[in-house]
């Protein structure tokens, strides 16, 4: 079995009201489009709100990484609510606290600090994704 056997689903918060939500969304794109396009699948959080069966099945059958913009942790809660298991959860605010030099601003369009913060977060999560996939492969687990 190859390391490609495991797909990790990535679920960012929808965060329409504040900058940190936009950072979460951008980080998810960084991760799924640029850094780990082969090992990750983006799932829209709204589908879990609606209970769409394909999205629910994905989070039930694959390890999930959630990226939340605020302390309410909607993405993480919704994965659990959908019967999935959160393999790793990240809060943008926690990453920002460690990198105060990258102050995010803007919602529709992030400033440079926000884009860099998103990239940094995505790079951190990419390492976690690799670990999750390695562990799943070693354990012989195969996900859809």
């Amino acid at each position: 079995m190859t390391a490609n056997a495991t797909q990790v689903v990535v679920i960012p918060c929808s965060g329409i009201g504040k900058t940190y939500g936009s950072v979460a969304r951008e980080a998810a794109y960084d991760l799924c489009e640029d850094l780990r396009p082969e090992g990750t699948t983006l799932v829209a959080l709204a589908k879990l709100v609606l209970g769409e069966e394909k999205a629910r099945e994905r989070v039930r059958s694959c390890p999930a990484v959630t990226i939340d913009g605020c302390k309410l942790m909607c993405a993480s809660k919704l994965v659990t609510h959908s019967g999935g298991q959160v393999a790793h959860e990240v809060a943008v605010l926690d990453v920002y606290r460690r990198h105060k030099e990258l102050k995010p601003e803007g919602i529709a369009e992030l400033n440079e600090g926000g884009l860099k913060l998103a990239r940094l977060l995505a790079e951190e999560v990419a390492g976690v994704v690799d670990e999750i996939r390695r562990t799943a492969t070693t354990a012989g687990g195969r996900h859809a």
């Binding site: 329409i16 009201g17 998810a28 829209a44 803007g106 919602i107």
Partner: protein
């Protein structure tokens, strides 16, 4: 003379991370909130209907609500109706784009020209609906405002997670 609070119209957008149309929905909603009708609109993150508290689920009861969806799954419209209340009006980006003969938006992360046109088109439609909803309210018989749920301001912030429109 009874005191009548001017209601704010709630706009609930799908998050639509998977599709360019979701990005159109999100950016059009933000354009209305920030530029076109900032004094008359509020928003809430759709997932808060499940992940938030009772106050969040009362959103559509306290605000006439317009939902903005990227595709015909209509997560925002159906989710709002399931968990909060029936939306006053609903928009689906795909339908508007098709009706106007625009090319399909592309680029969920960075929209192409057609996507940017779609943002303006959808934002304009939302703004007109906001005006219509408020106009209807203005011409309706005055009613006493509904009591605010416990622990919430009578003048809610623009996002139900109690943030303002930008970072603190």
């Amino acid at each position: 003379m009874p005191s009548v609070l001017q209601p704010k119209v709630g706009i609930v957008s799908c998050s639509g991370e998977e599709l360019a149309q979701g990005t159109v929905a999100r950016l059009a909603t933000l354009k209305v909130l920030h530029e076109l009708r900032p004094a008359h609109t509020v928003t809430i993150c759709l997932p808060l209907f499940l992940a938030g508290g009772e106050g969040d689920r009362e959103f559509a009861r306290f605000h006439p609500t317009i939902t903005v969806d990227g595709c015909d799954l209509r997560c925002a419209a159906r989710g709002t109706e399931m968990y909060s209340g029936k939306p006053t009006a609903s928009i689906v980006v795909d339908d508007l784009v098709a009706a106007e003969g625009l090319a399909l938006p592309e680029g969920r992360r960075a929209l192409n020209d057609s996507g940017k046109q779609a943002v303006n088109l959808v934002a304009g439609r939302i703004a007109r609906l906001v005006d219509e909803v408020l106009d209807r309210r203005q011409h309706a018989a005055p009613v006493a405002p509904a009591p605010a749920p416990a622990g919430r301001d009578t003048d809610p912030p623009s996002c139900s997670c109690r943030s303002r429109r930008g970072p603190a």
